[in-house]
């Protein structure tokens, strides 16, 4: 217990990144993730690292591309409009098979939107954002503790699969303070990166970091190989939490702050005898299949609780063959559903029985 310190979610990400061995951070100011950059600006010069405020999000992600090419652990963080700008770079990182770690502390959109919490970049994170066939590993923390642990995990997965991994948090996760135990974070050693451009030392053929393949056969081959790697990620890296699912007839699906709110509602519903449980995807890509394979056998209604107009609900339907009832329980634009609103929806789906 005495190892726990009280931290903001954004600061926990920054400190966990340093613990994970990240010594290069590039960013551009945007609310509500500013604390990540502020923390790095203070800390990096003292540990021989690089903090650089880039001229734009586009420059920042390309600086990330440079450090990743050199084979070092590197990150950038931003919020929704900034991630749109970084999306060009995310596509190039994928095309060049470079490992990188990116944080999106989401705010309401579209456009300039607002600065309050949102989950409306789910599609952007899990289905693309940038151009071309590619995937990112998308991690959705629901506590400050997870902001830290999933950051470490993010760096490790990025290195393991030569992919970008992204923390998809919402403004709440970034801003709220909770006790977090950083001393017990386990970090595995980064793998060897013989492909990195660190200079030939006149001892090997030159390495090339590139995403251009003018021969369509070669480009096709690269894409197919990449998707074989993605399949391994899907089979091995899906993470989720199940809560009171064994006898549930109604299943709430939610991640991040929506999952915390939903848990409160589920506890209240359970005290009233309603058989309701929660599936909380921790990886949004790969979207966890296993809990839904089980759930679709006995769940009549899935309630997708989201801070969006209904984005994750599409994956819930796909994961359960579209055979149940699906209900969206949402608030958007920076609004967060209250436990009462979620409870009301649970009661409604239970036939109105309170």
């Amino acid at each position: 217990m005495q190892n726990k310190v009280l931290m903001k979610g954004n600061e926990a990400i920054a400190e966990a990144a340093i613990i994970a061995g990240c010594r290069h951070y590039f960013g551009y100011p945007i609310t509500p993730q500013t604390e990540v950059a502020a923390y790095m600006a203070k800390k990096m010069p003292k540990i021989g690292g690089t903090f650089l405020q880039a001229e734009s999000e586009i420059a920042a992600i390309n600086m990330v591309y440079g450090v990743a090419s050199a084979g070092l652990r590197v990150m950038t963080s931003s919020s929704s409009p900034g991630i749109s700008l970084k999306s060009e770079g995310l596509s190039y990182l994928a095309g060049a098979d470079l490992p990188a770690f990116v944080v999106n502390v989401q705010r309401g959109g579209p456009g300039l939107g607002g600065i309050q919490p949102s989950q409306s970049d789910y599609f952007q994170a899990t289905k693309g954002g940038g151009h071309g066939d590619y995937r990112m590993i998308v991690l959705a923390p629901a506590s400050v503790e997870e902001m830290a642990s999933l950051t470490v995990k993010g760096f490790e997965l990025a290195d393991k699969y030569r992919m970008t991994s992204m923390i998809l948090a919402d403004g709440t996760m970034g801003q709220m303070m909770e006790p977090v135990d950083l001393e017990n974070l386990k970090v595995s050693k980064a793998p060897e990166k013989p492909w990195a451009t660190t200079g030939t030392k006149m001892q090997r053929k030159h390495n090339i970091i590139n995403s251009l393949y003018l021969k369509p056969e070669e480009l096709e081959k690269g894409n197919i190989e990449r998707y074989e790697r993605y399949k391994i990620v899907e089979e091995n890296e899906a993470m989720y939490e199940e809560y009171l699912m064994d006898d549930a007839e109604i299943c709430v699906v939610a991640f991040g702050i929506a999952a915390r709110v939903s848990k409160n509602a589920i506890n209240e519903a359970r005290s009233r005898g309603i058989k309701v449980g929660l599936i909380r995807p921790i990886t949004l890509w790969p979207f966890p299949k296993a809990p839904f394979d089980k759930a679709k056998e006995h769940i009549k209604t899935f309630i997708s609780t989201e801070l969006s107009m209904g984005q994750m609900i599409e994956d819930v339907k796909l994961a359960t063959d579209c055979k149940a009832n699906y209900v969206l329980c949402n608030r958007v634009g920076g609004m967060i559903p209250s436990p009462e609103e979620v409870l009301e929806q649970i009661i409604k789906q239970n036939g109105g029985n309170k």
Binding site: E55, A59, Y65, G66, S69, A70, T197, K201, M202, N210
Partner: protein
Amino acid sequence: MVVFDRPHSLIDVPLHYCPGCTHGIVHRLVAETIDELGIEGKTIGIAPVGCSVMAYDYFNCDMIEAAHGRAPAVATGVKRANPENIVFTYQGDGDLASIGMAETVHAAARNENITVIFINNAIYGMTGGQMAPTSLPGQVTQTSPYGRDTKACGFPIKVCEMLKELDGAEYIERVAVNNVKNVKNAKKAIKKAFENQINNKGFSLIEVISSCPTNWGLTPQNALKWIDEKMIPYYPLGVYKDRSKDKE
């Protein structure tokens, strides 16, 4: 006795450039410099998007292909990751002075310790001859078919003149490669730009006035003449900034 040979840091493959294009000359000057300074083993080159997009297949050192205009940002990352590496970007006028202008200006303002080779041939070559930020007033291109109208699309950007005003930049010079004398000067400038980096002096940019016979619609010989008659009067050659001289 060998009196003339291919530089070791230039790979022995046919280049894809058009006949009369001066990219080949500039590639050679960069490669000779890398050889003479003995830095091939620790040099990282960043290729642009444009005609020289496949430069990564021509240089023997480690190479990175950047997104359009982002080479100075990528170079910043590479250099910050391993400051002992020698990092150069090789960019055309569309890449550097249009889509990548912000990255160029800010890398210079930060005095990022990198070397930038900037090929100015006043046109987008790879996509078939569109108007570039450096196309001359009145210049006919695919997207300025009646000649560049400065009322509608403004004036060319003079990169050296602009960057020399930045306190950050160490060394800014404009050269050309249209005759033997100019090529020799270009070589000297490029070598100095690499030496500056080795000596931790900071940001060096060499603008190389180059030819594009294919998209200018000229023979190679007339293209070299056009550089003397049209390009150099608008883009005067010379050292625009040399902080080592300022200090003296």
